[in-house]
Amino acid sequence: MIPEIGHFALVLALGVAVVQAVVPMIGAQRGNLAWMEVARPASVALVLCIGVAFAALTHSYVVSDFSVTNVFMNSHTDKPMLYKISGVWGNHEGSLLLWILILAVFSLAVSVFGGNLPPALRARALAVQAMITTGFLLFILFTSNPFARLDPAPFDGRGLNPLLQDPGLAFHPPMLYLGYVGFSMAFSFAIAALIEGRVDAAWARWVRPWTLIAWVFLTFGIALGSWWAYYELGWGGYWYWDPVENASFIPWLAGTALLHSAIVAEKRDTLKSWTILLAIITFSLSLLGTFLVRSGVITSVHAFATDPTRGVFILLLLAITVVGSFSLYAWRAPQMKGGGVFAPVSREGTLLLNNVLLSTASATVLLGTLYPLFADALQLGKVSVGPPFFNSVFVPLMIPMLILMGVGPMLAWKRGDALGAVRRLWTALVATAAVVLGTWVLAGGSVVNAGAALGMGVGAWLLLATMVEWAERVRLFRVPPRDSLRRATNLPRSAYGMTVAHVGTALLVMGVVGNTAWKSETVQVMRPGETIPIGPRALVFEGAERMPGPNYDAIRGRLRLIDGDGHTIAIMSPEKRQYTSPPMATTEAAIHTTGVHDYYAVIGDPSPGDGAGAFVTRFYYEPFVPLLWYGALLMGLGGLVSLSDRRHRVGVPRRARAAQGASSTAAATTEAPARA
């Protein structure tokens, strides 16, 4: 019964979405306020309907109702409750439902917090958002019904891939989706503005918080996925340039560009047309990511061809979105008037350059990801595009951007003084040189290490320049400390957001460079009592034992991490687990972190040929990996801090308006009866 209610609620949602897509749009075209206002109750109804459907599916998972095909395919009675629930979005149909729920929640958020938006813009944006929702509802209802039943109901389910039974991964997809789908809001605002034919600084101000929210979630989502790959896959790696990773990274790069161009659009009323285009591109790339992952086209072109229904449907959605929005853009964008003029050497100039580099990076990763498909389709032969390609094209694009990131914030708007900026950054320059030299000497001074030292220097430069910029703002050491403190507390939150996010980027860069350069790995057979060095420490293998788990059997190794004098630093217990349903083996790496470096141990198969109790072990010394997580965390936090800025805080302007806007309310009430 409950799954049928869920199914019914989805059909109902389709009806509501169509109403929300059509009525407010017509209302906005005709200037009919009552029609425009339909969007608000509709968005509430839409969230309710989709929420009911989502709750119904969750219920089926919680009670393990295996008469529902989706539950049978992806759940099992033995599974811990957390993974029964995360199983809801651990599959195609369920994750699509989550996707639609998030679309509707964003729509609701705009209706609730968008009180400060002009009614017509709000109505149009909500209508566009509902159009996207309609498309996805059609997709789920026609090709991917999560509520399909099985008769007779099987006794037990097939279970969830044990690799996905992990707390990190339970929250990774919702985060990623909040990011992907969040960009739909920027897209909807862009389309609404194009239809309206008016884009001003106020528009950019309204769009920025929504873009920021999406970007923060996508950043956290990607970081969470990367962290999961690091500790769960047992390879000591955190980024593989896998097509599925790229599918989330491409929109992230475009979204980062959007975030920065929106600043120029808001502050200087220029680059507006480009910002609109970027909003469209970013969401299109999110859709493309969904298509790539969902259609199976990444697995192989042939997998796509054998069951093309879903893939073709998403491709159709993508085509309608891209062709529709780009046509609208081509038609309306030329009418937009540019605002403030600026010189190439200026804050806007560096932000524009940042956009050029980020867009190029995004396009390059996209091309690299799709090239094997193109080559195959165009009969150019089968090629592989892997990490060596991406590293060799991505890194050269990022280096100038990172260097520029240190200088840009020091330049004034409109016309900057490059020489002056460099002069004010001399402390950072000198310190960076010291870091490069120090790293090089400490690393042994070989030619091989010179590149790594320079790479660390790029990260250090960004870190130091960002700190100097902050110090300049508060006039540290130039005015009495009390004055500096007063200035520090008065700095806008958005300024702190930038400082925190850029410091995060610097840490991330140093983490990646340091890890790539100084990581080491050993693979060996160990008998109990043997010791193997790992980085500056060593690991003693003390044996392994069988451990039963709730839905798996494990072999747990016991390793002692010791320092040079043989003192025990930590006991590490890596596991190799054999899950029963589905039958699959996984590794649980043991990681000991010092906060800067990680010691990473994995236990493999027994090797009886080498003596009693002998096991294959794999150790990784992972220097600087924790910096990556701190960096990603700071980047996301920077976004949140910026979001908390008074001018961005969704809702504050509404209160301010309520205080000053008695006259406009009066005007609205006098107008309303006239229409009625």
Binding site: V244, E245, N355, E472
Partner: protein, 180 residues
């Protein structure tokens, strides 16, 4: 969902792909096993280095160094055999390319069929740069003509006003890097 030969990975592939992650099969064995490794550490280092750039031809975008597929193991052993036979790194790669085609190289070779791939970052960057340049040019053309320079009399007045203002505002100049 990265590791694993394609056939065994299939049932889980969709679920794992969905989650935006890497595909996994049931790992029967591990990537590089101690029994495959060469005794000469320098040679083994070279083997690892070469392996990282070679694709396991039955896997999803995995190098043979990471993959636990049988096929990858065979290829790793092949690489080590060639190294023992005295091949240079380039010889080993060429040997595998002759057997499996360019598909085996994770870094595509530079040739007419991949020119588009290799040149495009430069082309896109040049296109972006040209667009930015055009933007500045158009801006300069559209910008209102610079106002006529101040006359001597106006200059004197301006200077007087500025000194007056500076005296009033004290030493606290406008924040040079200040954001609005």
């Amino acid at each position: 969902m990265r590791r694993g030969p394609l056939p065994s990975a299939r049932p889980w592939l969709a679920a794992a792909l969905m989650l935006g992650m890497l595909a996994f099969g049931a790992p029967a064995s591990w990537a590089v096993e101690p029994d495959e490794m060469l005794d000469d550490p320098a040679l083994e280092d070279r083997a690892r280095d070469i392996s990282a750039g070679l694709r396991c031809v039955v896997c999803q975008n995995e190098s043979i160094d990471e993959s636990n597929a049988e096929m990858a193991r065979d290829m790793r052993i092949l690489v080590r055999d060639r190294l023992l036979a005295g091949d240079s790194n380039a010889d080993v790669k060429q040997y595998l390319v002759d057997r499996y085609g360019d598909f085996v190289l994770l870094k595509p070779p530079f040739k007419p069929s991949t020119w588009l791939l290799w040149f495009s970052p430069v082309l896109i960057l040049a296109g972006g740069g040209a667009a930015a340049w055009a933007f500045y040019r158009r801006r300069d053309a559209e910008a209102p003509a610079a106002p006529a320079p101040l006359s001597d009399e106006e200059q004197t007045r301006l200077r007087a006003l500025l000194t007056e203002a500076e005296g009033a505002a004290g030493t606290d100049r406008a924040d040079p890097g200040g954001r609005a």
